[in-house]
Amino acid sequence: MAASRSEDRDRAGLRHQAEALASTLPALLVAADRVASTVSQGVHGRRRVGQGETFWQFRRYQAGDSVQDIDWRQSAKSQPVYVRETEWEAAQSVWLWRDGSPSMDFRSAAGLPLKRGRADLLLLALASLLVRGGERVALLGQDRTPRAGRAALNHLAASLEAASSPTASLPPRVALPRFARVVLFGDFLSTLDEIGDAVRTLTGTGLRGHLVQVLDPAEESLPYDGRAVFEGVEGDGDLLLGRVETVREDYRRLVAERHAALSDLARSVQWTFTTHHTDRPPEAVLLSLYLALAEGGKLTR
């Protein structure tokens, strides 16, 4: 019981932490060239008349228009009677996913957060930003439809922490609405081929996306010395190294090559790729995500 109570506290804490993190940035309005063709009401003006709150144009009153649509103030300035039309505003939907595999349950030092914890935090913070911007968010692989508002945030947090949250190393192959946005958080330790397949599956539907690789600093730098046994977590088996320091340079080179390959992969499908280390503050990566999503800072309140 005590364990579950403390878990409750952790969940609540995670959400608060995410909100606090997100509160440092203004609300995020995802730049949308082509808003996903959903029927959802949103904030992205479609430059055509439709449902919305923003003024679009006045036009002559035509038969069939509701009398309540007449803008009396405008009509009083001249002879014709004008009807006030608003711009059609739709919401962009962003599909979020984070790696839930056991390899994310790792930290190299007691002072560092778990990779999963950091990924959850980033995901929720981003969701919070999006929700405040009026966008709609959904958890890839779990939700059918994106939701907006605080309820969506709560739902997201609950889903992340639920025992049934996805544990796969790579995003599931699900059909997503066209022109939606995807943000994937994970350590991307799978083979490059698997990652490539997964990404291309998503891009096939015209999606644009962002890869955020969350790594522990030890995974990058291999700071161990001497004789050591390394235990894998996903059935990789153990490995004994006599003198770890001798392979350190090679390992770092390998990791760097991998980053380059992932970066290339992302660029080939017009996605972005960011690496985040858990010993770094999350604000940095959140900001870069923010910029990538807003694309040039078209920020609206």
């Binding site: 995974e219 235990e231 490995l239």
Partner: protein
């Protein structure tokens, strides 16, 4: 015990542990250190690299070596190795220690005691009983030695002290033989701890000792035999000092010290032994005042009673006064009476001239009056009183006395005289000039041999009386008196019935005259009658190390008559006997023969030195080494397993260093480390006033004298010197601003090489660790103080700590009169400012001055001693900002320190001029209030 060359193992069984080493080596080789385990998600990436590095399954070779060294250190440490362990004793029976503890053994006594302790330790290790016999002469029934346990023997050996007399090895051997007959001496080993001196029976001693068991002889190196200082004899102004040594090939110089009764050195002279000689001579020439103060002579750096000679009245010089008529004989000095007297007295005594009253006032004990001296008026009474008080009046006859001899009793003549002289062998007489008869036995001249050629041509005759015979000390052949004497009170009146020149006899140009005068002068020493009197009780005696101390209970009084023949022994240790008024010295060396070294021992006698290389115990070192190795091993294996990173390696290495820095148990006693207290003044910051150029020679004199300057003694410690300079700089500036005194920049002075007389005030910071000034420097500083300079001695310690030390050093080195704390009435407290305290950088320390004595130096104290670090308070930098904080603090204290400085300089410059002048109105006003 197992011995391998110089190394011995006390527990050799532990060495068997070395057999295990190969097994340890094998085990270590096969067991690599356990790896650490890490969870590591990207292990798949690592696996791609795993083929790059072959995993080391074996422990690295240096690790094996380290651990083997650790094991070896532990095993060797358990075996308890000793370097230079003393050789095991021979035999299996008791250990007999035959110890010379006569006076000569004192020379190396600590080494002897160590040697004995080592031998007893050895006996204890081997579980053998010990018998100790000592050889110093004993009186009465002596204790027969017995076999004792080593522990008892150690106590007995520790209680042994050398005795200040000779050894009597024959008696000791006899006691030893008696003891050996009563005990089981099978397998005995004999060690003769010898003083190295041959008493003429070394062969017998060796034979007797070898009868007990194998003999080892321990003695100091041949050249170390002590020097015997013989009692000197005085000749004129010179003390002829003779010292004897064991003849040795080299030239050797020993220093002879003369000390007074307080132990203060009076003189120090080198005495040289020529090569291959046993005897060295020294003429010790001392002014008679110093010589009369001398209480003992000693050979410097030789702590034996044989090197000490106590001096008593016999070695004192008594000045002899000669009174002659004014101008008498000045015309023809070679014919004057005083000339012959002077020449005859000069070899053995000091001669003073003058009128009677003058000479008595100068404290002569013998007064020679020539005939021509007109003894009239008040001088007669004075002279009579002086004779009653112990003076010896020596008169010579002559024409004047022959003319004026009174008819009645004259207190200044021993006998009644006939008027007129008697001429022998003159042109009107038939007689021949008379020769001297042999001296009567009761006469002080007894023993002198009158030469045949001494002739008396003219004399004054005495009235024949009953007492004449017993008052006569010398006669002519015809029985007429030549020298008569009479005791008056404590003194003597002696009359020589002929002249002191050659007018009436040729006595004055004979050698006999000198001897006779010597005897007469000796009368004044009060020695002649000393054969009688009460027994002479010991007052102070010498121990074997030549130090005077209270007499031991065994010391017995000596009958006065036997004193001259008394041999030093247990009942009569060397020392001072008699009473304070009649002090007699009994010297050890008077009863010693010339020392001879023991040579030509039989080959069967093993000879060893007293000093062995100190035994070095390796065990603590080995165990410490093992501990260190274990720590290194721990760190190394941690490092091998990757537990150590830079972050943690730092503290770990530091810890290791700390462990290494912990002083290992030191079996060898080193010199105790002298902790040097940090100088109280912090290093002066930059910006000190620039040092004045230190000119030399005439420039120095000009610089020092054209301007009045303060000066400080350069100590050689730059911190202190800078503080002194800055302090005097600050004080000089302040004095220039506030007073009429105009001071130049202060100068640093080296008292050894520079003239101090040009400075009114010398500041001398004294610290505990600075070397004492040389004798020359001390002399110059003494001279400075005598010539009205004021010396400010500052121990610079907070709260006046170290002032005592500084005082003690001052008193040892300098002629410091008695010091007293300065009082509120002293001039120092009101020579410019009215002061109640004299703070410097520190407050509250006592300030000392010489006892105010108006007779010396106008009552101005030549020295002011304290510990308040005044220079620290006065010190300013070039911008006249203070350099050091004052403690407890406040500018008030600094101001008071400056005021003290102003007062002191004023005091140094004006003396007691201000004592009662300047502040009288204010003082009266205060008193009224």
């Amino acid at each position: 015990m197992l011995e391998l060359g110089p190394i011995a193992f006390l527990s050799p069984l532990a060495l068997a542990g070395l057999l295990v080493l190969p097994a340890i080596w094998l085990l270590l080789r096969l067991t690599p250190p356990a790896p650490r385990r890490f969870v590591f998600p990207p292990v798949r990436l690592l696996r791609k690299l795993a083929s790059v590095e072959e995993t080391a399954v074996r422990t690295p070779w240096w690790m094996i070596l380290l651990r083997l060294a650790l094991a070896v250190a532990v095993i060797l440490g358990a075996a308890h190795p000793l370097l230079f362990a003393p050789a095991a004793l021979q035999g299996s029976g008791p250990l007999v220690l035959f110890v010379d503890d006569g006076w000569a053994a004192a020379a190396r006594w600590p080494a002897r005691a160590d040697f004995l302790a080592r031998q007893i330790d050895q006996a204890e290790r081997q579980g053998r009983p010990v018998m100790i016999e000592t050889t110093a002469r004993r009186d009465g029934q002596a204790r027969v030695p017995v076999l004792e346990s080593p522990a008892e023997a150690r106590r007995r050996a520790a209680a042994l002290r050398p005795r200040p007399w000779e050894t009597d090895r024959a008696a000791a051997l006899e006691r030893l033989a008696r003891a050996a007959a009563a005990a089981n001496m099978a397998g005995a080993q004999v060690i003769w701890v010898s003083d190295g001196l041959d008493d003429g029976a070394v062969d017998d001693t060796v034979r007797a000792l070898r009868a007990l068991g194998p003999l080892t002889m321990a003695m100091a190196a041949a050249g170390a035999a002590p020097v015997v200082l013989m009692p000197p004899h005085g000749e004129g102004a010179v003390l002829k000092v003779t010292a004897l040594r064991v003849p040795a090939p080299g030239v050797r110089r020993v220093w002879i010290q003369a000390l007074d009764e307080q132990g203060q050195p009076i003189a120090r002279e080198g005495l040289d032994f020529a090569a291959d000689t046993a005897e060295g001579k020294l003429d010790l020439e001392l002014p008679s005042q110093l010589r009369n103060r001398a209480a003992l002579l000693r050979v410097e750096d030789q702590a034996t009673a044989g090197g000490v000679v106590l001096l008593d009245e016999r070695w004192r010089r008594r000045p002899v006064g000669i009174s002659a008529a004014e101008g008498g004989g000045a015309a023809q000095p070679l014919l004057s009476e005083t000339y012959y007297l002077d020449r005859a007295l000069q070899p053995f005594t000091e001669v003073l001239r003058g009128s009677v009253a003058d000479l008595i006032a100068r404290g002569v004990t013998v007064l020679a009056l020539t005939d021509s001296y007109n003894l009239e008026g008040p001088a007669r009474g004075e002279l009579a009183a002086w004779v009653e008080g112990g003076g010896v009046l020596l008169r010579f006859a002559g024409p004047r006395l022959a003319r004026e001899a009174a008819q009645g009793e004259d207190p200044l003549l021993p006998v009644l005289l006939r008027r007129g002289d008697r001429s022998l062998g003159g042109s009107l007489s038939w007689g021949q000039p008379a020769a001297l008869a042999p001296f009567p036995d009761a006469s002080p001249f007894a023993g002198l041999d009158p030469p045949e050629d001494v002739r008396v041509r003219q004399q004054i005759l005495a009235q024949p009386t009953l007492e004449l015979a017993e008052r006569t000390w010398a006669r002519l052949r015809d029985g007429t008196p030549l020298v008569t004497a009479r005791a008056r009170g404590d003194g003597w009146v002696v009359l020589v019935h002929t002249t002191a020149n050659t007018a009436w006899s040729n006595l004055a140009i004979s050698g006999l005259f000198v001897d006779m005068l010597r005897r007469v002068v000796a009368l004044s020493h009060g020695v002649s009658g000393a054969a009688k009197g009460p027994p002479l009780a010991p007052q102070q005696t010498l121990d074997a190390f030549g130090d005077l101390g209270p007499p031991p209970p065994e010391a017995l009084p000596i009958a006065a008559a036997d004193f001259a023949d008394t041999r030093v022994g247990p009942s009569h240790p060397p020392g001072v006997y008699g009473t304070a008024a009649d002090r007699r010295a009994l010297n050890l060396s008077a009863s010693l023969q010339a020392p001879r070294a023991i040579v030509d021992l039989p080959p069967a006698v093993a000879v060893t030195g007293l000093v062995a290389a100190p035994e070095l115990d390796f065990r603590p070192w080995l165990l410490v080494a093992a501990l260190v190795l274990a720590l290194v091993d721990t760190l190394a294996s941690l490092a091998l397993r990757g537990h150590l990173r830079a972050r943690t390696a730092g503290p770990a290495a530091l810890g290791l260093l700390l462990v290494l820095a912990v002083p290992a148990p030191a079996p060898a006693q080193g010199a105790p480390e002298r902790s040097v207290p940090p100088a109280p003044g912090v290093a002066p910051p930059p910006g000190l006033p620039p040092p004045a150029a230190q000119p030399a020679g005439e420039d120095f004199l000009r610089a020092a004298s054209l301007t009045t300057r303060l000066a400080y003694v350069v100590t050689g410690d730059p911190v202190i010197d800078d503080a002194s300079r800055a302090g005097l700089f600050g004080l000089s500036g302040l004095i220039n601003r506030r007073t009429a005194i105009e001071l130049g920049e202060p100068m640093g002075i080296d008292p050894e090489s520079q003239d101090l007389s040009l400075f009114p005030l010398l500041y001398w910071p004294v610290t505990a660790d600075q070397p004492p000034p040389t004798a020359l420097a001390a002399e110059r500083i003494n001279e400075f103080m005598r010539n009205s300079g004021v010396l400010l001695v500052d121990s610079r310690q907070r709260g006046g700590e170290g002032t005592d030390l500084a005082l003690a050093r001052m008193e040892r080195l300098l002629d410091v009169p008695p010091l007293v704390p300065v009082t509120g009435e002293h001039v120092l407290s009101r020579s410019f400012y009215l002061l109640k305290s004299y703070p410097g950088r520190w407050a509250g320390g006592q300030v000392w001055i010489t006892r105010p004595d108006a007779l010396v130096n106008d009552g101005v104290s030549p020295i002011v001693v304290g510990g308040n670090d005044w220079a620290g308070a006065w010190a300013v930098d070039r911008n006249h900002r203070p350099l050091f904080a004052v403690v407890p603090g406040g500018e008030r204290q600094r101001e008071l320190a400056y005021r003290f400085g102003v007062n002191l300089v004023m005091y140094a410059l004006t003396g007691n001029y201000k004592a009662d002048q300047v502040h009288l109105p204010a003082i009266i006003e205060r008193l009224g209030r």
